[in-house]
């Protein structure tokens, strides 16, 4: 053993400690904002949660009480309508890209456009929908809001669907075809089924994301202080409610904003949690 072997070992240990410390610090930097957001939101928001909060519409300005029931219903309506459009459209486009358009100019162009759409700031999509839907209709509406949300969701669904379908082993396709089953039936009954958990996960994450979008709703769904579940009428949404209440001068409304923010966090967390539980559960089985 060389005489300074002990010193080397000591030096190594110092190095190792330093590296570990750096990694820990970096992790801390990531965790601190998340933890503080959660802490502050829960602390301020939980007090707003009561029966009325979930079931009533906002009280008259200045009066206390009331709730954000209309915003919850509005968000559900907007997300559902958006999903209703985006899921089938995105799925079909994704299937096309993966199964029929591996090569060629058109599929490549679709991919480029799709990726570009994914990168467009959501407020730009909002303005576009304002011009394309709100102005011709003559008024704001849940429909316009969900069109804007669908435009955000579609590229995600297309991408996830294509990626997940490509991950399905080619042997599975061959095995289906070798039974004399036509290709399109193999795709719908085996390939899509094999990719389904992954696609569903992607859609769940996308839904969690659009549930929290504010910008594209400002001049599409607009907001509505009353119960409104008519797609052709303006409708409230949780992010809009947070925005309105938070900037109001009333402490009671500000607290409602925290409460709505907390609810949004819970919704997003549920979306993510569902996605994780579903994929992990499947992987094991």
């Amino acid at each position: 053993m060389p005489p300074d072997a002990g010193r080397w070992t000591a030096w190594r240990r110092v190095q190792e400690r330093a590296v570990t410390l750096c990694l820990l610090l970096a992790t801390g930097v990531v965790l601190v904002p998340v933890a503080s957001v959660l802490y502050v939101t829960v602390r301020n928001g939980i007090a707003a949660w009561n029966w009325a909060f979930f079931t009533q519409v906002p009280a008259a300005v200045g009066a206390s009480g009331g709730g954000v029931g209309n915003a919850i219903a509005g968000t559900a309506l907007l997300v559902m309508l958006a999903l209703f459009v985006a899921a089938p459209v995105g799925l079909m486009a994704g299937v096309y890209l993966s199964e029929f358009g591996r090569e060629g100019g058109f599929p490549r162009a679709v991919r480029v456009v799709n990726d570009a759409l994914m990168g467009v700031p959501t407020i730009v999509l909002g303005i576009f929908v304002y011009a394309a839907v709100v102005v011709p209709m003559g008024h704001f509406s849940a429909l316009a809001g969900s069109v804007a949300l669908a435009l955000i969701l579609i590229p995600t669904v297309v991408r996830v669907t294509e990626d997940m379908l490509r991950m399905v082993p080619p042997e599975l396709r061959d095995a289906g075809l070798a039974l004399g089953v036509p290709e399109w039936r193999v795709i719908t009954s085996i390939v899509l089924r094999a990719a389904f958990p992954g696609i569903l996960t992607g859609i769940a994450l996308g839904v969690a994301r659009i549930a929290g979008e504010t910008a594209p709703l400002l001049f599409t769904a607009f907001g509505n202080p009353n119960w409104a579940l008519n797609p052709l009428q303006p409708v409230s949404a949780l992010p809009l409610q947070v925005f309105l209440d938070a900037v109001s001068p009333y402490a009671d409304l500000q607290q409602k904003a925290w409460g709505a923010a907390l609810l949004l966090i819970v919704i997003v967390a549920c979306g993510n949690g569902f996605a994780r539980a579903y994929t992990y559960g499947r992987k094991v089985g």
Partner: protein, 270 residues
């Protein structure tokens, strides 16, 4: 009698790359034909021309004829051809569904709706594939939960369920342990009475055990084909002899320390 399958002066190219060269080979009713040969010699390619699975690969060109019961396979609708000429792959390919649904998949896709009829088909197919006793209590369990050997027998059952006349097996045991391999071999022997079987294998002992005739392929050509015992005992072609001599077990059995020949290399350069 017309052979079940026959290839005549068959050439196949993957783009500019030849993979089969002047292959002439027939497969007879109710026989087990084994195809042996070094890796890359075109065994899978030949097998896949019998049920037109190569159609899907872009750039494939075929010259010569392939006939199923006297009729050119290229005149038969691929879906209908594949129902009659089934195929099992090297790696087990259970579909992401229950054991029952895996076996019922083909019949369902081909229009069988009646539940009782489906149950019957599933049971018969699983029995024929010697898997029934192992899975009869868990038909609704996911197929992925079975062992590799069980999955492979499930794939065979799934193929049997569409009632093919020919079964093409492409190295069906190469991903399995010896126990599972023995079961599949037994199964092949049992099925041989009712079906015509083409078996691609790297396992020469397996070929010797289960096949009636054996074809030796090298570099895209069929070098020699004949009754299994004859080819193994008295190969006519020196290339066959050399390939068979590379078999460790044969060497041990004959007590000769024959040279272990390196497998024939990349042949595309020819």
């Amino acid at each position: 009698m017309t052979p079940v399958l026959e290839a005549e002066h068959l050439h196949l190219m993957y783009g500019a790359r030849p993979a089969l060269h002047d292959v002439t080979l027939d497969v007879r009713e109710h026989e087990v034909l084994a195809i042996i040969g070094p890796s890359g010699c075109g065994k899978s390619t030949l097998l896949r021309t019998f049920n037109r699975m190569n159609d899907r690969i872009p750039g494939v060109r075929v010259i010569g004829s392939v006939r199923f019961r006297g009729r050119s396979v290229f005149d038969i609708e691929p879906t209908s051809l594949r129902r009659q000429v089934g195929m099992v792959f090297q790696r087990p390919t259970p579909f992401p569904m229950s054991i029952f649904d895996n076996v019922a998949y083909g019949p369902r896709m081909h229009g069988v709706r009646d539940r009782r009829r489906l149950k019957e088909i599933v049971e018969t197919s699983l029995r024929r594939a010697a898997l029934w006793d192992e899975v009869k209590d868990k038909l609704s369990a996911p197929a992925a939960a079975l062992s590799g050997g069980q999955q492979q027998r499930l794939c065979i059952a799934r193929t049997l369920a569409v009632e093919p006349q020919v079964i093409l097996l492409d190295e069906p045991t190469s991903a399995l342990d010896p126990g599972a391999t023995a079961k599949i071999e037994e199964l092949i022997e049992e099925l041989a009475g009712a079906y015509t079987i083409v078996l691609v294998t790297h396992n020469l002992d397996q070929a010797e055990r289960v096949s009636d005739r054996v074809a030796f392929m090298l570099a895209g050509e069929v070098v020699e084909v004949g009754p299994t015992a004859e080819v193994f005992e008295r190969p006519r072609d020196p290339r066959t002899e050399r390939y068979l001599a590379g078999r460790p077990l044969t060497v041990a059995r004959r007590g000769v320390r024959g040279p272990r020949l390196a497998p024939v290399g990349e042949w595309g350069a020819r």
